[in-house]
Symmetry: C2
Subunit: 93 residues, 2 copies
DNA sequence: TAAATGTTTAAGTAATTACTTAATTATTTA
DNA sequence: TAAATAATTAAGTAATTACTTAAACATTTA
């Protein structure tokens, strides 16, 4: 889970909205798609980007695929961000 | 400073490296450019994106332009991130 | 097993983004 | 004031990204 993939995944508005939706509970790909004015394959591709960045987890239940947040990966990004609120010159790589 | 501009600005590796450099102190455009294998106009354009997102501040001193971090804007992003580590369903818009 | 439903993959395209070199602007110094 | 230095703007291009529709795959139900 390269930090680059994380930021790339977060740089798209649609993907951030998908993450927002998932805060309120797990959803199937179809349930997510309903919220957007975009084709289902379009949403599926966004979900694929989020899954690759490990921001979400997918689990198949029958013909449905449930998506859920992977909150631990958000902490990776937080860690990167936090550097910029610390005193100058400390390197936390 | 739309959150979208912030994430778009952060989605590029070169721009994140520029921010990393500025953690250790203010630098001129030229000093920043030295650290990269890229033309100076290329770096200048990245600096422009960072400035637009208000992640950095630019101040001209003679013929030099000094760039510095604007740490307060990082907190905007932090606030967005923090939502995902809170209990489900709380909306902090 | 055929039809229906949910989802993803494939292939192509339009829009955006990250670069390049050349030209321009601003400032300092010989 | 001319030349040198610092930085940006302009214009063009290659690469990437975000979509679309059509096709394929997986599962359930009639």
């Amino acid at each position: 889970m390269a930090i680059n993939d994380l930021f790339k995944a977060l740089s798209d508005e649609t993907r951030r909205k998908i993450l927002d939706l998932l805060r309120f509970g797990d959803l199937t790909a179809g349930e997510i798609a309903i919220h957007f004015d975009m084709s289902k394959p379009g949403i599926s591709q966004h979900l694929s980007v989020l899954k690759n960045a490990e921001l979400v987890h997918a689990s198949k239940k029958g013909q449905y695929v449930y998506y859920s947040l992977n909150t631990t990966v958000f902490q990776e990004v937080m860690k990167w961000m936090i550097q910029f609120n610390q005193s100058k010159g400390e390197n936390n790589d």
